[in-house]
Symmetry: C2
Subunit: 324 residues, 2 copies
């Protein structure tokens, strides 16, 4: 059994091997730039961790682990163009450092590179891995589209929101656990159980993200606190407030969100005050807790030695207690 | 042996089956719009035609044929965003009819749908088909990047240009012929021969496109004649003129291309006059002829009954004599 650190080291080695293309430089330099910035590498780590639950040899899971990491980075690249985001992980985004056309085309190249890496998987697992990858990739696009659609809608419900984050975030985590299990030789039954654990963990992960954006501290979270409020994002927090707030509180919420008089700082304070009156923080934590315990319970029920579940337990703990 | 018309009918049936996704509408409506506009369907037709050369049953080649058609349409969708083109095949482009974000994301979805369709190929052919698809898709991106790079360069050579159109156009035609042959059970040797025939036909096809853009008639070509001249595109015609023109002719060419005094019509006339003085039309036809005969010769040498080569001969003829 390799430790999380050992797995991350193996992932880094593999990623450095992908950056071999050079010409045309305007196509591949942005790809290399994107892949070499150090994200948390959560998706390939979970893929390898799931493989290790069934087989100590993680090598067969490396292609699909890398494929999901490249795909995830591709989505960030195109999302940044669509959202006009200028910074990502403390560095300028590709469309800011180069331009939008470069970001579109090098993103396209990354998606192909993800499939190219995936295609190096063992032939016996390839059809299963490909089906899951295709399904998941399309769902992530659907999630992004719903997210964009929600920007101009005022009637988004909490179930719609939860479905959106399931598509945009959870299915990718779930697909990583599923695919790792497949490469470890797990039965269909076990692979599907891992998938469901991934859905719950992914939902908890995204809800925690929403929570930190409003109730984290900037130094911990690494990005500006209150960004979601300023962008009037329909997060779980805001939708919950609209659901349970009094007419008066909803009026004040709408006033603050649409106000052009309030300073940014005041707008954030104003909305946070209403959230606090409504115990939104606790409602969100309860929602996270629900997904977290469901995942832990399913994990406990798997007939696999506990030592093999260590990284997944660690991840479940990490995402609940993380502050960045 | 099915006729080209019968194959095209089969392709249309299959394409209509792909348009089954509905939600989110803002993601899938542009996909359906793009796929249902009737292009020439050359790529899937060639795929099925290559399959038929080796086996009468074309069904195993349908997934990969469709995959290349969807991929081709995806590249047009993203290219139109990058080039800011407003019209395509007589209709508004997706980014014009919707917006750039919709075009980016629905293009991404189309690329995944292409892979999804490809994945339905027989498991025994899948690794070969996937490898070719990945390699080709990445090369098409490289070709598009070189094309964009050339816009701001004044030292593009003819070999560089030929390499760019090989990547942007020919490899896709070649991959279709290769993949069709694979699905027909052709040997590696034969599949590779088909690939090389595709490269030559693809080069001839693109050079003919360059020629028609300047020397076609608008009614035949379906788009405005002289567009390449107005956009100062480094086509084979222009690069050849720069290569063989006298210092005086090159000066006049540069004057016309950069002129803000000349009307569009005068600019086109001016450049065409120089092209005619330099016999650029004949040089281009000679270049097309070279690729065309190479393809025909290789096709003739294949140890396959002539009746089975009919559609490929027809295509070779069509692309040389086409006027649109």
């Amino acid at each position: 059994m390799l430790s999380a650190d050992a797995l991350l080291k193996r992932i880094s080695e593999e990623i450095s091997l992908i950056n071999i293309f050079t010409e045309p430089a305007n196509l591949y330099a942005p790809v290399n730039y994107t892949l070499s910035r150090s994200g948390k590498r959560i998706r390939p780590l979970l893929t390898l961790a799931a493989c290790q639950m069934f087989d100590e040899d993680i090598e067969p899971a490396l292609p699909v682990a890398l494929a999901y990491e490249i795909f995830h980075n591709f989505t960030l690249l195109h999302d940044d163009v669509m959202d006009k985001s200028e910074m990502r992980r403390g560095d300028p985004t590709v469309h800011k450092k180069w331009n939008a056309n470069t970001a579109i085309l090098s993103g396209d190249a990354m998606m192909i590179m993800a499939y190219n890496t995936l295609s190096k998987s063992k032939a016996e697992y390839l059809p299963k891995l490909l089906n899951m990858f295709n399904k998941t990739a399309l769902e992530v696009c659907e999630g992004q589209q719903f997210d964009m659609d929600f920007e101009t809608r005022n009637d988004v419900t909490i179930p719609e929101y939860l479905n959106m984050i399931r598509l945009k975030t959870s299915v990718l985590i779930a697909a990583c656990l599923y695919s790792g299990a497949v490469c470890g030789g797990a039965s269909d039954d076990y692979s599907k159980k891992l998938y469901q654990i991934g859905i719950d963990l992914g939902m908890a992960f995204q809800l925690q993200d929403d929570l930190l954006d409003t109730f984290g501290t900037s130094a911990q979270f690494g990005k500006r606190i209150g960004g979601d409020i300023l962008e009037e994002k329909k997060t779980f927090l805001l939708l919950k407030a609209f659901e349970i707030g009094s007419t008066f509180q909803i009026e004040r919420l709408n006033y603050a969100l649409n106000s052009i008089e309030l300073s940014e700082q005041d707008k954030i304070m104003f909305v946070k005050d209403i959230f606090e009156d409504l115990n939104i923080k606790d409602s969100t934590i309860a929602e996270i807790e629900k997904r977290h315990s469901a995942a832990i319970m399913q994990l406990a029920e798997l007939d696999i030695p506990d030592g093999r579940k260590k990284i997944l337990y660690w991840f479940a703990d990490f995402l609940k207690n993380r502050n960045k």
